[in-house]
Amino acid sequence: MKGYMGKILRVDLTTGDIQHEDIPDEVYENYLSGVGLGAYYLHKHIPAGADPMGPENILGILSGLLTNTGSLMTGRWMAVCKSPLTGGWGDANCGGTLSPVIKQCGVDGIFFSGISPKPVYLYMDSEGAELRDAAHVWGKDAVEAEEILQEECKTKKKPKVAVIGQAGENKSLISGIVNDAGRISARSGVGAVMGSKRLKAVVLQGSGKTEIADSEGMKAYSKEMATKIKNANLPKFFKGFLFPYLGLLMSKQKKVSAMDGMLAAMMFKKFGTIPVNTMGMTNGDCPVKNWGGSVVDFKKKKYKKLNPDNILARETRKYHCFSCVIGCGGICDIHDIKGGKYTHTHKPEYETCSSFGCLSLNDDLDAIFYINEMLNRAGMDTISAGNTVAFAIECFENGILTEADTGGIRLKWGDADAIIALLEKMINRDGIGDVLADGVKAAAQRIGKGAERFAVHVGGQEPGMHDPKLDPLLGIHFSDPTPGRHTIGGAVYYNAMYLWKEVSWAPEVTKHLKSEEYIPSDKEALKSIATSAYKTLTDGAGGCFFAMILGVDHWNLFQMLNLATGWDLSADAYMEIGKRIQTARQLFNTKHGVEPRDSIPSGRVKGDPALTGGALKGITLEIEEMVRLTWKNFGWNETTGVPEDKTINDLQLNGLIE
């Protein structure tokens, strides 16, 4: 037992019963920890047809197999559950400093079932765990609640806290779980599940160590990697104004090639994720005007206000997540914005800038800072909320919603005050906010009158802010068992990961025509399968997506797993584990009645109708065929997406589904 703790904590919130449970080694050998252990446990213990907001649903909060092992960029924690947003598999993950403390408390994960009769929080340290009354923090936003709980549970050091805000308490299906004063595990409606269980927070205070097989080897590998990243810096002249031109160059490229993933580290170190704010406007990555517009609708005069330099101008300090050497995070001073309601906020991610920028044609950067802090505190997913606001604006523009429906708010493109007013209603489920608080699919069903034609979602979840018409492989990944997720992969990432150097069946990339990536083929399908298998391994290990895209030349997950566990497995053997986890997630969906076909991107996301302007003008993806080939090559039924019996047998998943 090296690298993992070998046990979990089970909490029945209905009865208050708390038990440790030993997990056999073979479970870790087959599923790793993190999302893999979560998939194994939820598959076994959530009955088919369980109500996602009922007592039978289970919420898991897990660390990764590599977390706290001395490895680098492996500090993410996972939330898993049956998603109330999609009705199928739900997961979300987040960085910060929470993940290692789960293992320092002696477990790999905590699984909550049942529903508490009153608001509670779980306190856990190395000695044990107990449920405590949370009446005094129920109703508080996530940042306030975290501060109060840290103070009252403080011993020698402040504990780490995962907590829901008002959106989770109000069971908004687009709410998440917050840690580190505003970082959020946002997707799949994991916050709503926590709220439905009346579980306000998890407070962890641990100090235990995690034994690994080869600590000297891990130390040497981490030191070498840290040196490389420390030395990798963008030239000083590299400023934010360059990104629109880089995007333009990218859009003109006829050929693409494998590239050095370390360049991503250089970008993330200096800027974080925000270069895409403007680069994505010229290459088409940014969805505009509820996915129906382009840079023509949000011209340079507007998008240049979201120049990353303007955001860095407010950055007062940078920070790193646990075990990270890149440090893409930052804290920004916003005390002068909107009357000084908030003093500071986490540097808004690209996703937030885009979902409340070009998606609703809003060029008010101050408003984006404000919305970022407001939603982080409420614990609401900015991606889903941004898509929902854009949907509502388009409904209003087309007369489907009126001022009578919105409580007097005149919704129009680019009106930041109206957007903020609408979001406040969504957080509090007030009037029109109650209609919109569960995302676009539910909202369209409630509104009727043809509103569904403006509801952009994939399998029930709003897509991330990357247009797959720029990168069709990303579109295939949108059909993941957690549909609509953008942090799985894409061709641009595959070209930097060099998986083909380690994995015998991963297609090699040298130089090729960009247009080849638009043609459905077995090669593109295999790239997708390799990426998704490696990503599930990354999520099982607690790894960061931004580390993953450095590529195996710089961040070799296979090597780190062997150093931690001593298993001495080949890369191909690890990829079988990745495929097993991915297939287990797909089987969870089919067990719960989710049709995989419903998660294939359609409508505006695939380019139906095609955009009439911008870099992606006229493109409609053959996404159904691309997904069909991916399923076929995975050993899933190419028509239905249901894993074939032979695949289930080969991946030794029979025991899981019996």
Partner: protein
């Protein structure tokens, strides 16, 4: 298992006139003809960055404006390369 432990620290220069192996992460406008399957290019001892650009068939004008790093540092065209150096061409790669 084929694990490539990546050696970042540039190795000592080869003695005499031994050829150098340079790890090259080229851009799509480069010629890949002289890059081997593992991503390395062999250059004679004493070669400078501009020599590598020539082998990659980077147009003369581009050589002065392209963003390329040696061991992730921006250097001049006349910088002498060493065995084990890493040359990367900048390609925008971000995420969110």
């Amino acid at each position: 298992m084929r694990i490539s432990v990546y050696c970042y620290e540039p190795r000592e220069p080869a003695s005499g006139a031994c050829p150098m192996k340079i790890r090259v992460y080229a851009a799509s406008f480069c010629s890949f003809e002289d890059i081997d399957m593992d991503g390395y290019m062999v250059l004679p001892d004493g070669a400078v960055l501009e020599d590598l650009f020539k082998r990659l068939q980077v147009p003369w004008l581009f050589r002065r404006i392209v963003i390329a790093t040696v061991n992730y540092k921006k250097v001049g065209l006349k910088t002498r390369l060493k065995d084990g150096d890493v040359v990367s061409f900048f390609s925008a790669l971000g995420g969110g």
